[in-house]
């Protein structure tokens, strides 16, 4: 069975000349369908970079990234777009909602972009799943951090992804709210069956996953099941 996402000997460097920083140093990783993987590491260890690389948001300096068995480098612009729209979804630390759209419209926007036959088409239903049907017409600026994360989740579901990449999804939340968001992610994962990769520096968060990969200075130093 092919992995949802994988990388081989992945190297990502930022900047040039003296200011050159190697954020990822020969990282190899496989994410199986439906798998729940945690990326753990200290700040600056390269977690975000790895998530971005898996989703094709940064160009690798070296190595290869594959999505469902196809090397990203071989995909053209439109294929990449389709991939972003339908196969991969992100939930970031600060939710990254579109500020000029209501919760409803944020979800609707993702549904529209994905336009996938399997995807749910009703933003309200998705908002209902995350318990926010009542705030469909609120703008992100009018929501709490937890609410925003939930809208982000609903939006991600709207893309009907095979892979959900979460970057410190609870980083800005108090532990209670954080726990509830994680529970929600777990529940949704069970229901929709997407693979989940969560970047976190928190051991407890990492412990909720099937597998934990530890990063240090851009290198995978440990893997534990």
């Amino acid at each position: 069975m092919t992995s949802v996402s994988a990388c081989r000997e992945l190297v990502v460097e930022y900047g040039h000349g003296d200011g050159r920083v190697r954020a990822l140093d020969h990282v190899s990783l496989d994410v199986a369908p439906g798998e729940r993987l945690a990326l753990r590491g200290r700040s600056g260890s390269g977690k975000t970079t790895l998530l971005h690389a898996l989703g094709g948001l940064v160009e690798p300096t070296g190595g290869e990234v594959e999505l469902e068995g196809r090397p990203l480098a071989t995909l053209d612009e439109e294929a990449r777009r389709r991939m972003r729209a339908t196969r991969i979804a992100y939930v970031f630390q600060g939710a990254n909602l579109l500020p000029t759209f209501t919760g409803f419209e944020n979800v609707a926007f993702a549904i529209r972009a994905a336009a996938s036959p399997d995807a749910p088409t009703d933003p309200l239903m998705l908002l209902g799943l995350v318990g926010l049907a009542g705030k469909a017409e609120h703008l992100p600026g009018e929501m709490s951090g937890g609410e925003r994360q939930r809208v982000a989740l609903a939006r991600a579901l709207g893309q009907h992804p095979g892979l959900l990449l979460c970057d410190e999804p609870t980083g800005q939340l108090d532990s209670d709210t954080g726990a509830r968001i994680l529970d929600l992610i777990d529940a949704l994962q069970r229901e929709f069956g997407f693979a989940l990769v969560t970047a976190t520096h928190d051991e407890d968060v990492a412990a909720r996953h099937d597998r934990v990969v530890e990063l240090e200075e851009g290198r995978v130093v440990r893997e534990s099941a």
Partner: protein, 898 residues
């Protein structure tokens, strides 16, 4: 790192943005700089044309010839005086010319001007057509020469006073006395200048000849008496000192020149106590010019200031691009323990750098622009250049600081409010007081009031085209600007927001719905763009429409005053002998000609100007507007003239005074040159004329040339009107080459406008209008580009998020260009409405500056279309460029910024 080094590094880090800030600011400063330079230049032009328009600066009445000679000598030695001469004016009872073999020609009473032989060197009240002034001989004015049928060499007898022995003098030349109204005015220093009806017949001779031959027969007028200004009623000799001020002494604008001239006069009068007391024609003219200058200044400022303020708004928009950096810097500085004050200092130093560069660049552009418009005129002294550069730099630094700190403050507010429920900002005081609505209301009220009084705040009873204009009328457009701008700020795109909310209800799903929803929520930002672009374009429309209407009207006005593009006048004999009309018609550049006879006739006791025209050709030589006539179009009334050989068009006053109706018989007394006597001639009234090219404003008549000549026995017409293709001055040169040898004087509309009495129409607006129009076109493109660039910068994160969700570049750019389209459409609509309204107001206020008043606005379509195209192109190109940039957005880098 010091603040200065940090600021410098900041500017260098984003070179593109720094260049945009410098360029926009430089354009703003250049606009102001060019305006100030232009105003200074215009004011000096007004001074010099006002000074030039006075043929005779000062006249001091004195009691006798020796007193005149003594005082003239003393005055001429004074510093600042170009020349001072003893002169006499006197009446004569009649003149006779016995022309052997032809007959005896007599003239009615007239006036004598006695001057030194060197008189015409510095004083330009008379001009010789033929011959010159010689002791013991006489020079006849053109009209007197025609009446007497006299040529140089002929002998003419003058009777000083009825019953006295006539004095025989040989004619040594023919002249034109061009300033009779001033030369022969009653001299009363206490009352000041009072130009009087000039005598019809004038003779000029030397002071010596006059004193020896005619003065003994006439009484002398005491220097202090104030005589009534009735022509021909002067009972005796008026000795006087005539002086001309050195024009180099009069510098600066009319107000300054007026102070200098008055100061000079007072100094001379007090240094020669009791000897001279001047009637000051110069100050009178400068006084009028001063009022006009104030009006002109206000007009220019009205035209330019909004442009400069809008340009400053653009600088603010450009500085808004630094908001992101400000946020980062603020946290950086905080981390280092610095404070907001540090950020302000940083912004200040940065503005200093930007301001200095923009100021130097802007003043350079301004100086260059003015050079382009006024090649060779109004030399730029070193001092003026230094002052301009200095002023521009100061202005640019202030502007840069205001824009930068304003934008910085927005960043700080944003920092605080980020992630929070958008709070309704506290309404500023002007909003609570509804100052915007009040401004619009007062603007409308002022406009209505001035419109009701026919825009003539001060009616000048004088028939001279002097103007006393009220500045408060400018409140209307000024308040309209202010009110419209504030109202737009208040609305902050409320309309767009409401529409978007109504249509989408917060639940948009389709792309168009999402676009509308997004635009509705960004209505404040869109409105900011709309405000700047709309006001800028409105400024452009206002400027363009006003300037071209002004241009059109100035031309119409000048044409009505002068008569045609080119006017050649000569005694009828000369015109006929040299076949001048035909010759002029063949000059290259002349489009058409018509000849007419300008003479005089009595309606009852009033002497009126009478124009004998060829009704079939008159419109090929000049332009007749329908508004010149009452009771029919120009064509209609010309057809009436053609249909009735003895038809005549008379003024409204004549119609009322003599209770005439169309078709009535009107008997005039016209001068028959065959007999030298007035002869009663029947005419039939065919219509009413209010204005006619070259006619004075008061009563005059227009009739058929053939009929008039058949009764006056004049040899032919004495004036030729010519229409030209292109530059009238150039064609006039060629016409002059043909006509001057025949003794004709040639005037053209271009030169004439430049010399028209101090009116603000003296000032050629087209130059500055061109400069400003160029600025506006550039700024319009820049404003749209800025709006796009700023939108992209502000929404980079948003667009990257969209891309990460899988939105296509086409869809993402739709969010950019839909806003651009709203701003463009809204801006153009606002410009059309507001710009037109403003132009309408400004032009309406010029109603009494122009004669006739403009009946419609002139639209400079080429410029208006160019302006719109510039805005559209600016938007289009940057949107396309932004689309390319979206394709290469470093998504990972942007999205990691929270």
């Amino acid at each position: 790192m010091t603040f200065a080094a940090l600021a410098f590094a900041n500017l260098l880090r984003t070179p593109g943005r720094t260049i945009v800030r410098v360029v926009v600011l430089a354009a703003a400063v250049a606009l102001v700089g060019a305006m100030i330079l232009f105003i200074g230049h215009s004011l000096r032009t007004m001074t010099s044309s006002s000074v030039r328009s006075v043929p005779l600066d000062w006249q001091a009445p004195v009691a006798s010839r020796p007193a005149a000679e003594r005082a003239a000598l003393a005055v001429s030695k004074q510093h600042g005086v170009l020349d001072a001469l003893p002169v006499a004016t006197a009446p004569f009872a009649g003149a006779i010319h016995v022309k052997p073999g032809t007959g005896i020609f007599r003239s009615a009473s007239g006036s004598i001007l006695a001057v030194p032989e060197t008189y015409t060197q510095n004083i330009h009240t008379i001009r010789f057509l033929r011959g010159s002034l010689r002791p013991g001989q006489v020079v006849l004015d053109q009209q007197l020469a025609a009446t007497l049928q006299a040529q140089p060499g002929d002998l003419v007898s003058f009777t000083a006073k009825a019953g006295r022995r006539p004095v025989r003098l040989r004619v040594s030349g023919i002249s034109v006395v061009s300033a009779g109204d001033i030369l022969f005015q009653p001299l009363n220093p206490l009352l000041g200048p009072a130009p009087a009806q000039p005598p019809v017949e004038t003779a000029v001779m030397t002071v010596g000849t006059f004193a020896q031959k005619l003065a003994p027969q006439l009484p002398t007028i005491a220097s202090s008496s104030g005589l009534p200004g009735i022509p021909g009623s002067v009972p005796g000799t008026q000795w006087q000192v005539q002086a001309q001020v050195d024009p180099a002494q009069l510098t600066g604008g009319p107000a300054q020149a007026l102070r200098q001239a008055t100061g000079l006069r007072n100094r001379i009068q007090s240094s020669l106590p009791g000897q001279v007391n001047f009637v000051d024609n110069l100050s009178e003219s400068l006084n009028t010019a001063t009022g006009d200058a104030l009006y002109a200044e206000t007009l220019y400022i009205m035209l330019a200031l909004p442009g400069a303020l809008i340009a400053l708004g653009l600088a603010y928009l450009a500085a808004l691009g630094t908001v992101e950096r400000d946020r980062r810097e603020l946290s950086l500085l905080r981390a280092r323990g610095a404070s907001r004050r540090g950020l302000v200092a940083l912004a200040g130093i940065e503005s200093l750098f930007v301001g200095i560069v923009a100021g130097i660049l802007g003043s350079g552009i301004a100086l260059l622009a003015l050079r382009l418009v006024h090649v060779g005129r109004g030399p730029l002294t070193l001092w003026r250049v230094v002052a301009t550069v200095g002023g521009c730099v100061v202005l640019a630094v202030l502007g840069a600081a205001a824009a930068r700190l304003g934008a910085g403050a927005a960043a700080l507010r944003g920092e605080v409010a980020e992630g929070r429920r958008p709070q309704r900002p506290r309404r500023p005081l002007w909003q609570k007081l509804y100052l915007d609505v009040a401004a619009l209301a007062v603007s409308g009220l002022v406009y209505w009031l001035t419109a009701r009084t026919g825009f003539s705040a001060v009616v000048n009873p004088d028939s001279n085209p002097t103007l006393s204009l009220s500045i408060y009328m400018f409140l209307a457009p000024a308040l309209l600007w202010l009110g419209a701008a504030l109202l737009l700020v208040r609305l902050r795109g409320a309309l767009l927001e409401t529409v978007a909310r109504r249509v989408t209800g917060g639940r948009a799903r389709t792309l168009s719905g999402l676009l509308l929803a997004s635009a509705g929520r960004r209505s404040a930002a869109i409105n900011r763009g709309l405000l700047l672009v709309g006001l800028l374009l409105a400024f452009g429309v206002n400027l363009g429409v006003f300037a071209s209407t002004y241009d059109q009207q100035a031309r119409v006005d000048a044409q009505l005053t002068l008569g045609a593009d080119i006017v050649a006048s000569a005694p009828a004999e000369a015109l006929k002998a040299h076949a001048l009309e035909q010759k002029i018609a063949h000059v290259q550049g002349v489009a058409g000609t018509t000849a007419l006879d300008h003479s005089y006739a009595y309606v009852g006791p009033d002497l009126q100007d009478t124009f004998g025209v060829n009704a079939s050709t008159v419109t090929s030589g000049t332009t007749l507007r329908d508004s010149y006539f009452i009771g029919g179009t120009a064509n209609h009334l010309l057809a009436e003239l053609r249909a009735h050989r003895d038809g005549i068009l008379v003024s409204k006053e004549t119609v009322t005074d003599y209770s005439l109706n169309i078709g009535d018989l009107l008997k005039l007394r016209v001068l028959d040159h065959a007999t030298g006597r007035l002869r009663v001639t029947p005419f039939h009234v065919v219509g009413i004329v209010q204005e006619f090219p070259s006619a004075p404003r008061d009563s005059f008549m227009v009739t058929n040339l053939d009929y008039l000549l058949s009764v006056t026995h004049d040899p032919g017409p004495n004036v030729v009107f010519a229409k030209t293709h292109g530059d009238a001055a150039a064609v006039a040169k060629r016409v002059g080459a043909v006509a001057r040898p025949a003794g004709a004087s040639v005037k053209d509309i271009t030169t004439q406008t430049a010399q028209t009495v101090s009116s603000i129409t003296t000032v050629d607006m087209s130059g500055i209008a061109k400069i400003e129009e160029a600025f506006v076109v550039i700024l319009a493109a820049a404003a749209m580009a800025l709006f796009v660039v700023l939108g992209l910068a502000e929404r980079k994160h948003e667009f990257a998020t969209m891309a990460s969700i899988g939105s296509s570049v086409r869809e993402i750019s739709a969010f950019l260009w839909s806003e651009v389209a709203i701003v463009l459409a809204g801006g153009l609509a606002l410009a059309a409405l507001l710009g037109w309204l403003l132009a309408e107001m400004l032009v309406a206020m010029l109603q009494h500056v122009f004669d006739p008043p403009p009946d419609h606005l002139a639209a400079p379509w080429l410029f208006l279309v160019g302006l719109a195209v510039a805005a559209v192109l600016g938007a289009l190109l940057t949107t396309v460029a932004a689309g390319l940039r979206l394709r290469r957005l470093p998504l990972g880098e942007i999205l990691r910024e929270q």
